[in-house]
Amino acid sequence: MAKGLGRKALPWLFLAPMLALIALSWIAPLFLTVYLGFTDLSIKNFLAFIRNFFTEKVHITIDNFRRVFMGGDPYISEVFKVTLLYVGSVLLINAGYSLLLSISIAYLVRNEILSMILRVSWLIPRITPGIIYALIWNWFIDPKYGLLNPMLSAIGVPKAWLPSSWLLDKPYSQILMIVVNGYIGASFGMIVYTAAIKSIPPDLINAALVDGASDFQVARNVIIPLLKWPMLFVTAWQTLSLLASYDVILMIWGSGGGGGYAGIARAAGVMVWSLYSYSKAFSEYMYGYASAISLVLVVIGIVLIIVYFKLFGFRRLMEPSRVEV
């Protein structure tokens, strides 16, 4: 009897530390975010709230959501537009451009060593620690010392078109935001697609080649149709990660702008939804309102994850690069 009980308890004994840490880092903050979103927690009543979660100084309210959705915050529509631009454009790079990239690297380049060098090079932005990525970009775009403006001049872009500051001049800063994040995301798509292309049975491609198809025809008519699921996976997965990612923007604009990231990001037009939530909390200390803003993302996130499971099923989420022939 005791032994049977032991056998039942043993797995949970092994799992307990993980579950405890998950509770601390995921579950508790998740529920707390929901709660905070309905409060007016700010720097004024924060200490009272820490002392007692149910203090009278913190009021339950739906004002936060009125501000988000009913135009109570005039800046929120700007944030929405920037987010749309950011997610849409970077997604185009991550899911679309990386497809071209992996067809080039994994199919058109037959030389293994060359293909390897290219693959590793494209991984550099992902592997580089975030702050170093921010540092080297800050140098690269520096109008005086950096290489971006000379490079652009060299390929014939007139001097008058080049901004005096890539960080601050508006359309340029937004282009920079897209490119900088695009480089990181491109390798995600590349990894998934490359694995998928490698798993296509060679017979299929050889048959087409023997029948006289060119490499481009093979790419268009054989490879791309087979990558339908991986493409859908990359698009779906990246939508959620992009919606919530702001660390690179915070690091580049925050460090390069010198001083408060919030003001710089606003001026440069790179204030995306998740960064807005972060800055409301940690530079304006409006914890309740900030939670409400990120609660929108939490809800989107949960809905998307449910959609992923319905759409892909468990197995496909695990092996996104599986190809069904």
């Binding site: 992902r126 140098w139 919530a244 909390a281 939490v298």
Partner: protein, 298 residues
């Protein structure tokens, strides 16, 4: 006959043209966009050892003055930055803490997920994958409240301890998943043999299975070490006392101050910080790439 020859030649030319276009596509799509990235890496290496550089890449003189932060305090006007070594120590502490905790916890849970039957096993695995998809950075505000509630905010090393716990918690779902994969690849029979010979489950785990998943454990520990080493947001948000900064946060603050006057030192500092990453990647790239494929969100 002549016509056949002509068409053969035409076909040969067309094939050649196709090959040229093919390589043109490769160069435009996959090589040209790498020039900025390559030049940035080259700059980091060159600038850190040279005085003035022309166009960022052509050094004019060799110097180790850029590395002076290693032996003398960094000053900017009247402001003196914290000494680099305690900051490096903090960073190391954070990285080791995260990696130790992640390894310990995820080998246990990975083993249970791979080998044990219990109710809710599938549901738990689905839950772990869902967590992996869920963007943790939007929980920072609530985590800030929790840190305050636990009394770990603004308490020096205790704050860093809180960050270790949080960071480990964020890394653990994926790490458990990866370790589970390694356990899955070990044949059941091996464990059976140990159990039949009278080992307890614990003993079998410790002396038969763990040695076999050592590569997996190595990969997890390196991966989570690097994740802790380069963690920025948590420390930036929760640590306000300069003495308890980690290197990424110090670099963040220094970029803004020094970007107009001393790129050399910034590059040297950046390279100094990247050393562990470089070491780990040059020694165990295959293992790490395998993990990076699944382990990183974007």
């Amino acid at each position: 006959m002549a016509r056949a020859k002509g068409s053969l030649r035409r076909r040969f030319l067309r094939a050649k043209l196709a090959a040229v276009i093919k390589y043109l596509v490769v160069v435009v799509v996959a090589v040209v966009p790498l020039f900025p990235i390559w030049s940035m890496i080259a700059w980091l290496l060159i600038q850190s050892f040279s005085g003035r550089v022309i166009l960022g890449l052509i050094p004019s003189s060799l110097t180790i003055n850029n590395w002076r932060f290693l032996w003398s305090p960094i000053k900017m006007g009247l402001k003196e930055y914290p000494n680099i070594w305690p900051i490096t120590f903090n960073t190391l502490l954070l990285a080791l803490g995260v990696s130790g905790l992640v390894v310990l916890v995820s080998t246990m849970s990975g083993y249970a997920l791979s080998r044990m039957e219990f109710r809710g096993r599938t549901a738990l695995m689905e839950f772990i994958i869902a967590l992996h998809a869920f963007p943790s950075v939007i929980l920072l505000i609530a985590l800030f409240v929790i840190l305050n509630k636990l009394g770990l905010y603004g308490k020096g090393y205790m704050t860093l301890l809180g960050i270790v716990l949080i960071k480990a918690g964020l890394e653990i779902p994926m790490a458990s998943w990866i370790i589970k994969g390694f356990f899955d690849s070990i044949p059941w029979d091996l464990e059976w043999a140990a159990l039949v010979d009278g080992c307890s489950r614990w003993r079998a785990w410790r002396s038969v299975i763990v040695p076999l998943v050592l590569p997996g454990i190595g990969a997890i520990s390196i991966f989570s070490f690097l994740a802790g080493w380069s963690e920025f947001l948590l420390v930036f948000t929760y640590v306000k006392d300069e003495a308890y900064y980690t290197l990424p946060v110090l670099i963040y603050h220094m970029i803004g101050e020094f970007k107009f006057i001393d790129w050399g030192m910034l590059a040297a500092l950046g390279l100094f910080f990247t050393i562990p990453t470089l070491i780990f990647f040059s020694t165990s790239q295959k293992l790490l790439l395998r993990i990076y494929v699944g382990g990183v969100k974007r």
